[in-house]
């Protein structure tokens, strides 16, 4: 069976493309599913973390003596219990520093000590008895303020990278990056119309419903186990081992069910703390974050400040485009501006383009990934400017975009030349969609925007075991955050030629399977899916071999068709087909267990594009915006389980709606977060949303056997811009600050009057 990943474009699917019930559905709706906080162990202690009340403070000393005397306290750890094992690796050191503050607390909520006690009440009381001697330092939380020469410098060993000459003074600007091609200045001189605008976006949290939780158990022999809610348990194992100086093989990590991640659970937050507490207490320790901790101590997105300038000829051809993007990464070095700078103009075919990104450090929690990280903010700024330019040229925004859209052979704004891509198809589908021409009422506006995301593959390992009764036990190493177990079952069933219900998929622990990269980058249906298909083909090869044994013919004389081994032709002999079930039943006498495996670096995920259309109505008295209608059009390559693809499209749009209209980290002058809870940080609820309509386009990815492209992230890229364009059209004022909360809309209306 060749390991050929090229898609068969004429293939008719039996199972892939259907919409069966999800295998984890019953457990989730009945409460049987075990999430991070559901793990228990005999003798388990409660872990709690003491966090800095200051945005920036030197820690002169920590006195734990009173807490240690409290009955029921079994272990207390501080920075002194976590020696630096990073061997000079800055990224590892920063993770250690983020897990537990060292010489300074760098943001409100930064961990400074942790307690393991017999109950939550004792642990809380112990935290109150820990005395931390802080020297409060000046702080900065705004990205623009942090770049100013007189801003308090947060790290005295960070010098701006990517500038010449190399700076001799430390700075909060960690890195400058630049992308583009052509001669932008010459392009602007050619332009008949130039629009130049500045935009701001506020930080948002991924808002997953399940808080971070883990249960750690470290034995006196140094081996440990960790049950954790994460998007990447292999990553958690490797990083935690490195931070704690453990051998990787001594730590076994099991991923729990996950109540949302969206990128926020692709990082290590408090898992090494739980392990260190367990190691010191010699008891299992469970740590569950409160919502307050989730907001203050786990990663939100960057807040940003972006300048965009685009010039076009009267005929609607863009001749030059430029963006300066400033992204704060929280208290540590990030590469978030890189991603904004790379994605900003990726939808367009531009002769002259330049983007410059600045990664900036501020006194906020470490920025984390959030679905297509950094792209939504860049798209907001660029797509707003594109819309304004279209209006100024007297062109329909959709036609202006179609005229300038990237296509196969376009040199992308971040460098490489595109192969076959779907931006044109999504724009054409949007232009022809009934939503685009539906009538609008008073105070209503329509907006549209495009979005881009890279998608990627990564390291992947999958095993497929054939059971005695012909059912299939499929093991993957990528936590299921979007229904991927169902998709894996569909692809295994398709390849083997058996019903979907005969395949069950589990997320195996780190000791049961080879390394798998994190579930991120919209990679799982692409890469774990491809590994599953190739593991199934490996198993089919073995099944054919077993059938050959049973018939007494050569392996090459056996073919596999729709769940049956058959003689390849008349010369192979006359044998009735053998079903997978029959071959499985005879496995013990034909060579033992039958299994298929595949491990690889999955490359060729293929870039992804989407176009969104939205109608809004703005209440001019209150400034409140209501979403009336929303349509997502996106290329899925091949929709393995169309209902989940639609769910990803809808989920991205819903989160984007929250980001566009309400969600915002609000900081006080004291550098403290003012709204660390879902009452004051308002994510959309069902009553805020219309039914989000979806259009799935299927332009096969040539690098996947079924043509699959990732779909999980791109759908959050256009909403900020699409809604900003809709609101701007509704109120007649260009909105340049996200979220467009009622006060900002009222202020914009007042400014106009």
């Amino acid at each position: 069976m060749p390991l050929d990943v090229k898609p068969d474009l004429k293939r008719e699917f039996d199972v892939v493309g259907t919409r069966p019930l999800r295998p984890d559905g019953i457990d989730k709706v009945t409460g049987r599913a075990r999430f991070g906080a559901d793990a228990t162990a005999p003798g388990m202690l409660v872990g709690r973390i003491l966090r800095s009340p200051h945005a920036h403070a030197r820690i002169r000393g920590i006195d734990t003596s009173k807490a240690e005397q409290l009955a029921g306290v079994k272990a207390i750890i501080t920075r002194d219990d976590l020696p630096d094992h990073s061997n000079g690796d800055r990224a590892t050191y920063d993770i250690l520093y983020n897990c537990m503050a060292r010489e300074k607390a760098l943001y409100e909520g930064h961990a400074v000590a942790a307690v393991a006690a017999v109950s939550a009440a004792v642990a809380r009381q112990a935290l109150k008895l820990i005395e931390v001697d802080y020297e409060v330092l000046p702080h900065v939380t705004d990205v623009d303020a942090a770049m100013k020469p007189d801003a308090p410098v947060i790290h005295d060993d960070i010098f701006t990278e990517g500038v010449e000459p190399k700076p001799d003074k430390p700075s909060n600007v960690a890195r400058r990056s630049e992308f583009g091609h052509g001669d932008v200045e010459a392009g602007f001189r050619e332009a008949d119309v130039v629009i130049s605008r500045s935009y701001k976006t506020e930080a948002t949290h991924q808002g997953y419903i399940e808080p971070h939780a883990c249960l750690a158990s470290v034995s006196p022999d140094g081996s440990g186990e960790l049950w954790v809610c994460t998007q990447g348990h292999f990553m958690i194992r490797n990083v935690s081992s490195q931070v704690l100086g453990m051998e990787i093989s001594r730590l076994r990590v099991t991923a729990s069910e996950i109540g949302g991640g969206f990128g926020g659970k692709t990082h290590v937050w408090m898992e090494p703390i739980a392990l260190a507490l367990s190691r010191k207490a010699n008891r299992p320790v469970k740590v569950v974050m409160s919502r307050d901790e989730v907001f203050k101590a786990t990663g939100p997105t960057s807040s940003t400040s972006i300048d965009v300038k685009i010039g076009a000829k009267k005929d609607g051809t863009i001749v030059a485009a430029e963006a300066i993007l400033r992204y704060q990464g929280g208290a540590f070095i990030g590469s978030w501006a890189d991603l904004g700078a790379m994605t900003a103009f990726a939808c367009y075919d531009l002769r002259n383009v330049r983007t410059v990104g600045y990664d900036v450090i501020v006194n906020r929690p470490k920025t984390a990934a959030y679905r297509a990280p950094s792209a939504p903010m860049a798209a907001f700024a660029v797509e707003s400017t594109v819309d304004e330019l279209a209006h100024k040229l007297g062109l329909e925004p959709i036609d202006f975009r179609i005229r300038n859209a990237a296509r196969e052979g376009t040199r992308s704004s971040y460098g490489p030349t595109y192969g076959p891509i779907g931006i044109g198809a999504t724009l054409s589908a949007a232009k022809n969609h009934p939503h685009m021409s539906a009538p609008l009422g008073n105070n209503q506006g329509r907006g549209m925007a495009c979005g881009f995301w890279f998608n990627f593959g990564g390291q992947t390992c999958t095993s497929l075991n054939i059971n005695l009764d012909g059912t299939i036990a499929l093991s993957v190493g990528t936590p299921d955050i979007g229904g991927s177990r169902a998709s894996m079952c569909l692809m295994a069933a398709e390849e083997l030629g058996i019903p979907y219900e005969k395949v069950r998929c589990v997320v195996a622990d780190t000791s049961s399977l080879g390394y798998n990269d994190v579930t991120d980058g919209s990679r799982v249906t692409f890469s774990s899916g491809m590994a599953t298909i190739l593991a199934a083909r490996d198993a089919i090869k073995k099944l054919c071999g077993r059938a050959a044994q049973m018939w007494g013919i050569s392996e090459e004389a056996v073919i596999w068709e729709k769940g049956y081994a058959k003689p390849a032709g008349p010369n192979a002999g006359e044998f009735p087909p053998l079903s997978l079930k029959e071959i499985a039943a005879a496995a013990a006498t034909t060579g033992g267990p039958i299994a298929g495996h595949h491990e690889f670096n999955a490359d060729g995920a293929g870039v992804s594009f989407a176009t969104h259309i939205v109608d809004v109505e703005v209440d001019r008295e209150t400034g409140a915006t209501r979403i009336l209608r929303y349509t997502v059009l996106q290329d899925a390559g091949k929709a393995v389980h169309p209902a989940y693809v639609e769910g990803q499209f809808q989920g991205g749009a819903a989160q984007g709606i929250g980001w566009a209209l309400n969600e915002e980290y609000v900081y006080g002058e004291d550098g403290r977060l003012q709204n660390a809870g879902f009452l004051d940080y308002r994510i959309p609820v069902c009553s805020d949303l219309p039914m989000i309509d979806t259009v799935i386009l299927e332009i096969p990815n040539p690098k996947h056997p079924y043509g699959v492209r990732g779909v999980g992230e791109t759908s959050i890229v256009p909403p900020l811009a699409a809604i900003a364009n809709a609101v701007s059209n509704a109120v007649g004022v260009r909105m340049t600050h996200i979220p467009m909360s009622p006060p900002r809309i009222l202020k914009a209306l007042e400014g106009r009057s």
């Binding site: 500038v163 992308f179 926020g264 890279f454 490359d603």
Partner: protein, 90 residues
């Protein structure tokens, strides 16, 4: 198309802006390389300033397809090769 190529072909590599200062201010550099592994090895030797970036993780785009970890990937003759930041995802 990605395929095999004989040893010793010169590969023209385009650098993203941040790398230029680490490569004597050049936008593009040329090295002999048949695979991504050879490319990184020779870039690191010819332009030591690039070594810390390579160690930290760089993606390579070959004819529009982005590779993150496949260092054995061959680089065909005349391929369009870009170095890109290693992309994070959510």
């Amino acid at each position: 198309m990605i395929g095999t190529k004989p040893q010793g072909e010169r590969v023209r590599v385009t650098l993203w802006g941040s790398l230029r200062s680490a490569a004597e201010g050049r936008d593009t550099v040329e090295v002999e390389a048949a695979t991504i592994r050879e490319l990184f090895s020779r870039l690191g030797k010819s332009y030591p300033g690039l070594k810390p970036f390579i160690d930290r993780g760089i993606a390579v785009s070959i004819n529009g397809q982005i590779f993150r970890d496949s260092w054995s990937q061959s680089i065909p003759k005349g391929a369009e090769v870009y170095l890109l930041p290693r992309i994070a995802g959510g």
